[in-house]
C-alpha cells in the first residue's frame, strides 16, 4: 500500500486523529496512574534517585499502623454518602424549579452555576470568611436574628467541621448536577406529560411516571460523577481546614497528599491513592453495570 492509499484508509485516518488525544492521555493520565501503582510497592522520599522495592509494606503500614488512615477512611465514607444524597437531590430540585416558566430563570440558572467555575481554593477562602465565628456572615446573621445561641465555631469544632466543609462543597458543586438535570429535563417528552395529564396524573404522578423515568440516564451520570468527585475531594478541605481540627476533616485524598508532599513518604501516599482508586472502582463499576443491564432490558 502506498502512502497515498494508506492516508485514504479510514482506519489510518482514525488513528492519526486519535494520536494527539491518546498521547496526552497516556502521558498525563495513564503513565502517572501506573507509576502510582508501582510506587505504592516502593519506598521513596521524592528526591532519592533510587526507589526501593518494599512489597506490600506500605499497605500493611497504612492499614495497621496508621490511625489517621482509618479516620480519613471513615470521613471519606461519610462524605461520599452525603455527596450521593445532597448534590443530586438539591441539584434536581433546583433544576425542576428553574425549568418552570419563572421570571429571570436564565439569570438564576447562571447564578446557581457560577460557583462551579470558581477555583475550589477561592471558594475555600470565601467560606472561611463566612464561617468566621466572630466576624463571619453566618455568625453576624444569627446575631442580627437574635439567635446568638446557635453560633458555633463552624470550622474549629471537630463535631461539625466536616459538615461545615461539606456545605461549602455542596454550594460549589450543586450547580453542576443542576445543569445536567436541566439538560435531562429538556428531553422529557411533552406529549407524554400531556398524556399523563389526560390520564388524570397530578404533578407528583407526572413527576414519578414521566419525568423520573425520562431522567434515568441523567441520574446515572449525576450519581457516578458525584461519587467520583466526592472521593477526589481535596482542595476545598485543604483550603478550609487542612484536615483539622484533630483530623476531624481528614480525607483519603488529602491524607495521600500529606503523606507524599509533607511527610515525603511517597510510597505510603501512593498506597492510599491506590486504595482510593479501588474504592471508587468498587462503587462505580457495579453501578454502571447494573444501569447498563437495566437499560438493555428497557430497550
Amino acid at each position: 500500500m502506498s502512502l497515498r492509499q494508506s492516508t485514504h484508509d479510514p482506519r489510518v485516518q482514525a488513528l492519526v486523529l486519535l494520536v494527539p488525544a491518546l498521547a496526552i492521555y497516556a502521558v498525563f493520565a495513564l503513565y502517572p496512574m501506573i507509576n502510582v501503582v508501582i510506587l505504592s510497592f516502593q519506598k521513596w522520599n521524592g528526591l532519592d534517585p533510587n526507589r526501593q522495592f518494599v512489597g506490600v509494606a506500605n499497605y500493611t503500614a497504612i492499614f495497621t499502623r496508621d490511625p489517621v488512615f482509618w479516620v480519613a477512611f471513615r470521613n471519606t465514607v461519610i462524605w461520599t454518602v452525603m455527596s450521593l444524597i445532597f448534590p443530586p437531590v438539591v441539584g434536581l430540585l433546583l433544576a425542576l424549579s428553574l425549568n418552570q416558566k419563572i421570571f429571570g430563570r436564565n439569570g438564576l440558572r447562571a447564578i446557581f452555576y457560577l460557583p462551579v467555575i470558581i477555583a475550589p481554593i477561592a471558594v475555600a477562602t470565601m467560606w472561611k470568611w463566612m464561617y468566621d465565628p466572630f466576624f463571619g456572615l453566618f455568625s453576624q446573621l444569627l446575631t442580627s436574628w437574635g439567635m446568638q445561641g446557635w453560633i458555633k465555631d463552624w470550622l474549629g469544632s471537630k463535631d461539625i467541621a466536616l459538615y461545615s466543609v461539606f456545605v461549602a462543597y455542596l454550594w460549589q458543586t450543586v450547580g453542576f448536577s443542576m445543569v445536567l438535570f436541566l439538560a435531562g429535563l429538556q428531553n422529557v417528552p411533552q406529549t407524554l406529560v400531556e398524556a399523563a395529564r389526560i390520564d388524570g396524573a397530578g404533578r407528583w404522578a407526572v413527576f414519578k411516571h414521566v419525568t423520573l423515568p425520562a431522567l434515568r440516564p441523567t441520574i446515572t451520570i449525576v450519581l457516578v460523577l458525584s461519587i467520583i468527585s466526592s472521593l477526589k475531594a481535596f482542595d476545598i478541605v485543604y483550603g478550609l481546614t487542612g484536615g483539622g481540627p484533630a483530623q476531624s476533616t481528614q480525607m483519603l485524598a488529602l491524607w495521600a497528599f500529606t503523606q507524599a508532599m509533607q511527610i515525603f513518604d511517597f510510597g505510603r501516599g501512593a498506597a492510599i491513592s491506590v486504595v482510593l482508586l479501588l474504592i471508587t472502582m468498587a462503587v462505580v463499576v457495579p453501578y454502571l453495570r447494573w444501569t447498563q443491564r437495566h437499560e438493555e432490558v428497557e430497550a
Binding site: 398524556a195 399523563a196 388524570g200
Partner: protein, 356 residues
C-alpha cells in the same frame, strides 16, 4: 344536547390569532374529522377540546357541559397521540390501566376493563410487553386501548396514523373505523390526509387559516365544495381549475383566458362575462369527439386500476384519470371533453361556489 359543541371558539398565542371563531356541532356517536393543511389550527382546536390549550374565547361543551375551565382529566375525553405517548417503563397492560389506577379503581376492575379493551383490539398476547418491544402499529393499538379503557364520552385522535408506513396506515384506518362502528362513541380525529378524512368520517370539518371552510359529509364536500379551497383540498388527484368567462347564457361556452373554448351544458345565473373558475375532477374528463378541447399528453402514470394522465390545455396542466386501459404516448394530441353536469363553478374574486 349530547355530543360535542364548539361555539365561536377563538385562540390567540400572544398577539397572533390562530383560530378565529370556529363553530362546529358534532352529534353524539359521530365520527368527525378535522382536516386541513398544516398550520390551519386543527391540532390546536383538538388540544383545546382536550384541555391542553387554554381557550381564548368562545365555549366548548361536551355532553352539554361547558368544559372551558375543566382539567383534561375531568372532561370525559381520551386522547390518542401521533407518537403514541406510551409510558416506556410500563407494560402494555399497565399503560392501559394507568388512568384507572390514578382514579383509584380496584385491581380486579382495572384488570377486567384492560382485558376487555385488549380483546377488542387483539392485544391479549402483548399485554406484558413494554412499548419498546412492540411495533408501531401495536403501540398505536395500545394507545387506543388506553383510551378505550377510560370509556370516555369523546375520543380525540391527533394524527394517529402519521407515524405508520403506508400499508399499515390503510389497515389501521379500517380498524379505527370498525372500532367506531362497534363502540359508537363520538370521535374527533385530526389529520392532514384528505384520504383519511374521506374514508373514515361521518362529518368532515375543513379548516384553513384558523377558519372553518366547510362542514359536511365526505360526499357532500366532494360533490358540492363550497369554495375553491375545499374543492382543491379534497379528492386525489386534486380537482383541475380553468379560468375564463362565460359567453352566451343560452348556449354557454367557457372562453378560457388562454384562448380555448369549452362548451358547457349549463352555467350559473348572471354569469355572462363574469370572470369564473371552472373546476373539473380528473375522473370527469373523457375522450371527446371532434367538438372536444385540444390537449397534449405530457406524462402517463399507470396505477393498475386506473391511469393518471397529465395533459396540457393551452399551456395549463390538468390531471385526467382514465379508468379503462388506454394507449397513449407523451406529446400525443388528444381531444378531451368535460362531463358538463359535474363541472363546478366558482367566482374568481370571492372564490365561492356558484350554483348552476
Amino acid at each position: 344536547m349530547s355530543g360535542l359543541s364548539i361555539g365561536n371558539v377563538k385562540k390567540s398565542f400572544g398577539a397572533v390569532d390562530v383560530i378565529h371563531g370556529v363553530d362546529v356541532e358534532i352529534a353524539d356517536g359521530e365520527f368527525a374529522i378535522l382536516v386541513g393543511p398544516s398550520g390551519c389550527g386543527k391540532s390546536t382546536l383538538l388540544r383545546m377540546i382536550a384541555g391542553l390549550e387554554d381557550i381564548t374565547g368562545g365555549q366548548i361543551r361536551i355532553n352539554g357541559r361547558v368544559v372551558n375551565d375543566l382539567q383534561p382529566k375531568d372532561r370525559d375525553i381520551a386522547m390518542v397521540f401521533q407518537n403514541y405517548a406510551l409510558y416506556s417503563q410500563m407494560t402494555a397492560s399497565q399503560n392501559m390501566g394507568f388512568a384507572l389506577e390514578l382514579a383509584g379503581a380496584k385491581r380486579p376492575e382495572i384488570d377486567k376493563k384492560v382485558g376487555e379493551a385488549a380483546a377488542i383490539l387483539g392485544l391479549q398476547p402483548l399485554l406484558d410487553r413494554k412499548p419498546a418491544q412492540l411495533s408501531g402499529g401495536q403501540r398505536q393499538r395500545v394507545a387506543m386501548g388506553r383510551a378505550i379503557v377510560r370509556d370516555p364520552k369523546v375520543f380525540l385522535f391527533d394524527e394517529p396514523l402519521s407515524n405508520l408506513d403506508a400499508k399499515l396506515r390503510v389497515k389501521m384506518r379500517a380498524e379505527i373505523k370498525a372500532l367506531h362502528q362497534r363502540l359508537k362513541t363520538t370521535i374527533v380525529y385530526v389529520t392532514h390526509d384528505q384520504i383519511e378524512a374521506m374514508t373514515m368520517a361521518d362529518k368532515i370539518v375543513v379548516l384553513h387559516g384558523g377558519r372553518v371552510e366547510q362542514i359536511g359529509s365526505p360526499l357532500e364536500l366532494y360533490d358540492k365544495p363550497r369554495n375553491i379551497f375545499v374543492a382543491g383540498f379534497l379528492g386525489s388527484p386534486a380537482m383541475n381549475f380553468l379560468e375564463g368567462t362565460i359567453e352566451d347564457a343560452a348556449n354557454p361556452v367557457l372562453a378560457m383566458t388562454s384562448g380555448s373554448r369549452v362548451k358547457l351544458s349549463r352555467a350559473p345565473a348572471n354569469s355572462v362575462n363574469r370572470p369564473l373558475t371552472l373546476g373539473i375532477r380528473p375522473e370527469d374528463i373523457a375522450f371527446g369527439g371532434e367538438s372536444g378541447v385540444d390537449a397534449v399528453v405530457k406524462v402517463i402514470e399507470p396505477t393498475g386500476s386506473e391511469t393518471h394522465v397529465a395533459v396540457e390545455i393551452d399551456g395549463k396542466e390538468l390531471t385526467w384519470v382514465v379508468r379503462e386501459r388506454v394507449e397513449l404516448a407523451p406529446e400525443q394530441r388528444v381531444k378531451l371533453s368535460f362531463e358538463t353536469s359535474k363541472v363546478h363553478f366558482f367566482d374568481q374574486q370571492t372564490q365561492q361556489r356558484l350554483d348552476a
